[in-house]
Symmetry: C2
Subunit: 340 residues, 2 copies
């Protein structure tokens, strides 16, 4: 397995080291190549993502990313120039974010009930395309625009992927989240696409919710959700709500998939670089290890994925609730569990 | 007080009746004029909001709205043609949504702590402008766009209003919520405006959060917020999260303000028309009564507003937690408390 590793900034290298530790335990054939990208490289060289690096990345089976970002870099530079550029260049149209309340994990909700949802967020369209601009900047007549672009091609492939995932799950339920009553143009395309594709999946029951209503139900009744499909920006928001109610982004894994298999998919914990705790060895690597499980699953290594997932589930169910985390201890335990 | 009343659909008329009951108790000079608008009128006559009605509305001191909407109407018709049109025609650029956890109210959070925030949502710009379109509809090459429009004029006035509210509160803290790392054009305008206006309010401390991070903190640490300022769409989402953690939209009030005073402001509960429980007399009118308190406050009737607010606070602190609601009982109690 040729694996490109982008450890990145802040706690990125620390959590990625543990992710690789666990990965090597279940997949000894992994051959990691490390790429130095992120805030530090940009500070040093002014480079974000050289085209040659993009080409090299394409030669791998998958990418593991730690975290990118540093407060010293103005907002947008690393996001648009590196993180989002990777998603767009590698056509990561599926942004996959499972949210499950593991046994032993404390939810901020008083009565969470069982939560096990799979959010399928679109990854290459919507308000993320970077289409927009500024007129008369810094004057009282400034106008700033952002354009959300949505195509039948782009919406159909993510909706179809979501149905495929839904039909393979016990509950076979899919919820579209959008804001069709206000964003009528984009909303119409999304609704019609879900309706059309649903004809091919008669076993899947379909629901629709406006993003504002869904944001409430994620808190008052998260157990109702199975698979969710939504646009890039709504997905950014609701997956963080889903992460919050299932124990926080310290446990949230994600996959940026090119479902066609043309480009390598990229797996990353949802949390950021957390510069405040970087270098102290106290970052929780669990989200990275769960991202490794998603990576293995995506590569068809189902048994290896199951081992990693089961190791995390067991470890979480036996962790002391408020105990401090030592990054390497968690990695050691998870590696031993996954390998044993 | 010349009050235009749009009771609307579903439970709208039921909750508005109780809101007026309470209002009459504290403000006997209220002269309500009822306007028949909403799904039923549209079904009957095809009319949404005749220009003559808009003109008449302008002749009032304020507007009280119940709820608009019915499942029989396709998404967008009533929202764009009536609700949003009212906001745009009457220049309701401030969408004011307080979120406070009243004593006696159960939060879905295990450990909510005290919550008392004031969300100031922009009301006439952003992705709500209806700017966008569809190309090659119903073909595999369909493209649908939505344009978020943001102007210095529009952003500055809502940011300034938010600072004015913040400086008048004990904590004097303001949080801007946006997504500046992705929506760099609009985000830049919002950030720069907050920075500029903050110079006039040195007592106010300012924080910034991305909308995804904020959506988590609303759940894990809602007590940190005081005043929030945000764009139209982010505001739609985060105010519903704020409502959820403070007991649900059954208690959430809102004001759509033209802060310049040129047009009458409009007050409405955040909940919808709830057709499933309409006509049964079991809708909770509390959000409407709290909207009446906002209305009185906006008209400078501070003492009357306090009476209504105190009545709700007292009633909530003594309500039996799971007791069924009878709409008229709640209205009777609140009217007696506010008047007594
Ligand atoms: C860092 C940012 C560009 C990114 C996003 O908005 O997609 C992050 O919030 C995420 O969810 O992966
Ligand atoms: C009904 C809809 C148009 C409206 C909005 O999105 O603003 C509602 O959700 C609200 O928050 O008042």
């Amino acid at each position: 397995m040729r694996l490109a590793v982008i450890a990145g900034d802040g706690i990125g290298p620390e959590v990625v080291a543990e992710g690789l530790k666990v990965l090597r335990e279940v997949a000894p054939d992994v051959e990691p190549t490390h790429y130095d990208l992120g805030a530090m490289r940009w500070q040093r060289t002014g480079e974000l993502l050289p085209d040659t690096v993009v080409d090299e990345l394409r030669g791998h089976d998958a990418i593991l990313l730690g975290a990118i970002g540093d407060p010293s870099v103005p907002p947008g530079i690393l996001e648009r120039g590196l993180l989002l550029r990777l998603r767009f260049e590698l056509d990561h149209h599926i942004n996959l974010r499972p949210a499950r309340l593991f046994d032993g994990v404390t939810s901020p909700l008083a009565d969470p009930g069982p939560i096990d949802m799979l959010c399928v967020r679109e990854g290459t369209e919507g308000p993320y395309v970077g289409n927009g601009g500024v007129l008369r900047k810094d004057t009282p007549h400034e106008v700033a625009t952002e354009v959300s672009l949505n195509t039948a091609f782009g919406v159909e492939r993510v909706v179809r992927y979501a149905f495929e995932r839904a039909v393979a799950r016990p509950r076979k339920h899919l919820t579209l989240i959008h804001k069709t009553n206000v964003l009528t143009h984009a909303g119409g395309l999304w609704s019609r696409t879900v309706e059309e594709v649903s004809a091919e999946f008669p076993e899947v029951t379909v629901a629709y919710q406006h993003v504002d209503a869904a944001s409430m139900f994620f808190i008052t009744d998260p157990g109702r959700y199975d698979v969710i499909v939504t646009d890039n920006l709504f997905g950014d928001i609701v997956t963080d709500i889903a992460a919050a109610v299932t124990g926080g982004i310290g446990l949230a894994a994600s996959g940026n998939l090119d479902a066609s298999g043309t480009n390598p998919s990229m797996f990353e914990p949802v949390h950021g670089s957390a510069p405040d705790i970087a270098g102290q060895g106290i970052a929780d690597p669990t989200a990275t290890v769960l991202s490794v499980a998603l990576l293995l699953e995506h590569l068809g290594r189902t048994e290896q994925a199951k081992k990693v997932h089961a190791a995390v589930a067991f470890d979480l169910s036996t962790r002391s609730p408020q105990g401090p985390v030592r990054t390497t201890d968690v990695g050691d335990r998870l590696a031993a569990l996954a390998g044993g």
